[in-house]
């Protein structure tokens, strides 16, 4: 079905392009917001991603899955609007921010649990964070995340493991009634 849509876009069918937009935009915006942490940057990134897709669709082989290609462009655009290079964001540097210190921060507001968890996700190291977003927001498999980020699948597994462990600890704390 998607292949038919992409074939039409390759032939310059703008209606098919709008349909592709309808199918992809919502999650592209969600992922971009989660990655850039900023609505304006997220909309810029999504806009440029679709423009790039439209302009470069003829270079895309229909034998390949479209979704990872699309999200690779999106993540690159997110990095561009954040003023960083791909390597700068996805650098394999696990210098840990102190989640513990984050968890002990005073917070005068009573947030919903998911808001605390969302904040915790946003405080993960970029490399772990982006992998977590792609897996749990968009449901990508580890091999697809590896393709999107241009890294080894074992690196993705490691990033997901680290990110997930930290988040699980936070969830336990939240459920135990401790404030984040």
């Amino acid at each position: 079905m998607e292949r038919v849509l992409l074939e039409k876009i390759k032939k310059g069918d703008s209606e098919a392009f709008e349909e592709l937009y309808s199918n992809y935009a919502e999650y592209a915006l969600r992922v971009a917001l989660a990655v850039t942490r900023d609505k304006m940057s997220a909309t810029d990134a999504v806009q440029e991603t679709f423009i790039k897709v439209y302009k470069n669709i003829n270079r895309f082989s229909l034998d390949r899955p479209f979704r990872p290609w699309f999200y690779r462009i999106l993540i690159n655009e997110c990095n561009r609007v954040m003023g960083k290079t791909l390597n700068a964001v996805l650098v394999d540097d696990f210098t840990e921010k102190s989640i513990q210190s984050f968890m002990s921060e005073e917070d005068d507001y009573s947030f919903e649990e998911y808001e605390n968890l969302y904040d915790a996700i946003q405080k993960l190291e970029d490399a772990n964070r982006v992998s977590i977003i792609l897996k749990y927001l968009r449901g990508f498999k580890e091999t697809e995340i590896a393709e999107i980020l241009g890294v080894n699948v074992n690196t993705v597994k490691s990033r997901l493991f680290k990110g997930r462990q930290k988040l699980k600890n936070i969830i336990e704390k939240l459920e135990g009634g401790n404030r984040v």
Binding site: E15, L29, R30, A34, Q47, I121
Partner: protein, 248 residues
């Protein structure tokens, strides 16, 4: 299959990003505009224009521009010059130029695009040329890049769309072009900054794209040179602090 914690992560990510999904139509409008897609070959997206208007009127990302007397029946049909009467014709403001506080007498000016602004008439004058209001210094130095602030209104185009077009155009002429995104000071709008370099006389162009609340945009362009950033640049920004759109 997700376990319980994984479901919570998924839920947090979905809820944490819910607010941006309402921008879907705005982004599409920008894409459509940039790619100049054929209007006759579009999938119907009912309510797109209304949603867009509603979003910019009430949405969290909308520029919170000052609207004067918009709903007040006493003034609802008043012409700009009537509304102008509601404002002090001149006042004293204190502004910091290059770190030093200065007291200035500023005078109320009526723009051609239904807005008011206060300018220091000792230093600047304002004239309208081809629908654009241009504020220039009274003292002009020779052999220096032009210094001015230009205000014009563009109907039927959003600040986002115009800002994207401007970034594209500036990138052809300037070394550094930055979309600084939404700003609230000195005025609510999208800020674009560009310069031709960092030498004292390199040109700086700065733009604010302000929602005019009627589906269009007020474009404010400032041009000066690097050395004048703390002088004319600051003064132009100070003028914008008193900028108010007059809706009728």
């Amino acid at each position: 299959m997700m376990d319980r914690e994984e479901k919570k992560i998924n839920e947090a990510l979905l809820k944490g990003t819910d607010e941006i999904t309402e921008l879907k139509n705005i982004v599409w409008n920008n894409i459509e505009s940039q790619l100049d897609l054929k209007k006759g070959n579009r999938i119907d997206m009912k309510g797109k224009k209304n949603n867009l208007r509603r979003f910019f009127k009430y949405g969290s990302i909308a520029a919170a521009i000052a609207i004067v007397a918009i709903a007040n029946t006493q003034y609802g049909s008043a012409a700009v010059n009537k509304i102008k009467e509601m404002f002090t014709p001149s006042k004293t403001v204190e502004e910091k130029i290059e770190g030093i506080g200065e007291k200035k007498n500023v005078s109320l000016q009526e723009g051609s695009s239904k807005y008011i602004i206060y300018i220091d008439e000792k230093l600047y004058s304002m004239k309208t040329v081809e629908g654009k209001d241009i504020i220039t210094p009274k003292v002009k130095a020779e052999n220096l890049p032009q210094v001015f602030m230009e205000i014009q209104q563009v109907e039927g185009k959003t600040p986002e769309a115009l800002a994207a077009e401007k970034v594209k155009a500036l990138k052809e002429n300037y070394k550094r072009v930055e979309n600084m995104g939404k700003v609230k000071e000195p005025i609510s709008g999208i800020l674009i900054y560009a310069n031709s370099g960092s030498k004292w006389n390199d040109i700086v162009e700065k733009y604010y794209f302000v929602d005019n609340t009627k589906g269009g945009t007020i474009i404010i362009k400032q041009q000066y040179f690097v050395e004048a950033s703390e002088g004319h640049g600051s003064r132009f920004d100070n003028m914008l602090k008193e900028f108010k759109i007059v809706n009728q």
